[in-house]
């Protein structure tokens, strides 16, 4: 009986420490997740923007991916977050593209299509360039970037994914394969074909 009483007092001593420890671990995890998200959010946005060619959709897609990672996979080891996040992002991008295809098909059979085109026009304030000096070199870079974006948008989905994940996010072949849910050999093939296609379209513009 005495042994049980001692055990009870020891357990009650340990429990508050355990809770505090767990809370600390959770706070550390939140900080780590925040730093991870702040590191990837801009790159993810650019990947989504190039794929979708629409800023608001790209923002939605990135926010969805961040929420899903935080909600479902925050407890997973931090080294798994990057391929997981980009896999979620690519799935969201594909969802938006599919919805667009369906919407285009539906709209094509509606007699009053195009009436609200004015409502979907981009906000000129959003489209305005940032304040600040724009030298000629910057304009040239911007134009080259626009051409590169157009060429990337025209690539087949898998080639574009492989090229952007490797060059914007800097994922290695293994993580790119995990994000694209395919083999490393496929990643290399897609990447090589993407590079060849871009070179044939852009030639010396990007050198």
């Amino acid at each position: 009986m005495l042994a049980f009483a001692n055990l009870g007092s020891q357990t009650s001593d340990l429990l508050p420490l355990g809770k505090a420890h767990l809370r600390e671990l959770a706070q550390d995890g939140a900080r780590t997740l925040e730093s991870f998200l702040s590191e990837v959010e801009r790159k993810a946005f650019r990947i989504a923007q190039i794929a979708l060619r629409h800023e608001a959709d790209a923002l939605d897609v990135v926010q969805d991916a961040m929420m899903q990672l935080a909600h479902r996979y925050a407890s997973r080891p931090a080294e798994e977050w990057r391929p997981l996040f980009y896999r979620i992002l690519e799935n969201r991008i594909r969802d938006v593209q599919r919805r667009r295809i369906v919407r285009q098909r539906v709209m094509s059979v509606l007699p009053w299509r195009g009436e609200d085109a004015e409502e979907e026009a981009p906000d000129p304030i959003d489209q305005a360039a940032d304040a600040g000096p724009t030298p000629a070199a910057q304009i040239e870079t911007d134009q080259t970037m626009q051409l590169l974006e157009l060429a990337l948008a025209e690539l087949p989905t898998r080639q574009r994914q492989a090229f952007l994940l490797r060059n914007i996010e800097g994922l290695d072949v293994a993580d790119t394969a995990a994000a694209m849910k395919c083999s490393q050999g496929s990643v290399k093939t897609h990447y090589f074909r993407a590079l060849q296609a871009l070179r044939s379209k852009l030639g010396d513009l990007v050198t």
Partner: protein, 142 residues
């Protein structure tokens, strides 16, 4: 014999590598030069995502409550198994194989009443029977 990857690397000549490097620079520059408004929206999206994250307490509850419920259910089943008499089979009805006359006797209310009558003086009846059988029984009142 070179593998397909090695052949690809060979094909990626100097011009190809330069193209790759320049494309990477352009893409990274476009990431760095995102408008302030877009950066602000991304920050808000990040905070919303972090707020949607399950708290440590709910995570703890979500992890341990099902395990606790399972343990309680298992303990309940174990107790029920141990407490419930088993191995003796179902209860046996002692009258199941009784003969009809036995059942009739049991149902006879008089017999039951006789059996229950504690006031009967059986010694007296035995004496009376033996006296009646004997010849020299004195008559009452002599």
């Amino acid at each position: 014999m070179k593998s397909a990857t090695e052949r690809r690397d060979d094909e990626l000549d100097a011009a190809g590598k330069a193209f790759e490097r320049r494309a990477r620079e352009l893409l990274m520059e476009s990431v760095e030069r995102l408008p302030a408004q877009t950066r602000s929206r991304l920050t808000r999206a990040r905070h919303a995502a972090l707020e949607s994250r399950p708290s440590w307490l709910s995570g703890l509850v979500r992890r341990w409550v099902p395990a606790g419920a399972g343990a309680v259910a298992a303990a309940t089943l174990a107790v029920l198994f141990l407490v419930t008499p088993h191995g003796e089979g179902p209860g046996v009805n002692p009258l199941a194989n009784a003969a009809p006359e036995d059942l009739e006797m049991l149902a006879d209310s008089d017999a039951v009443q006789l059996g229950r009558d504690a006031d009967v003086d059986y010694d007296f009846y035995e004496w009376a029977v033996s006296e009646a059988n004997g010849a020299g029984a004195p008559s009452v009142g002599t």
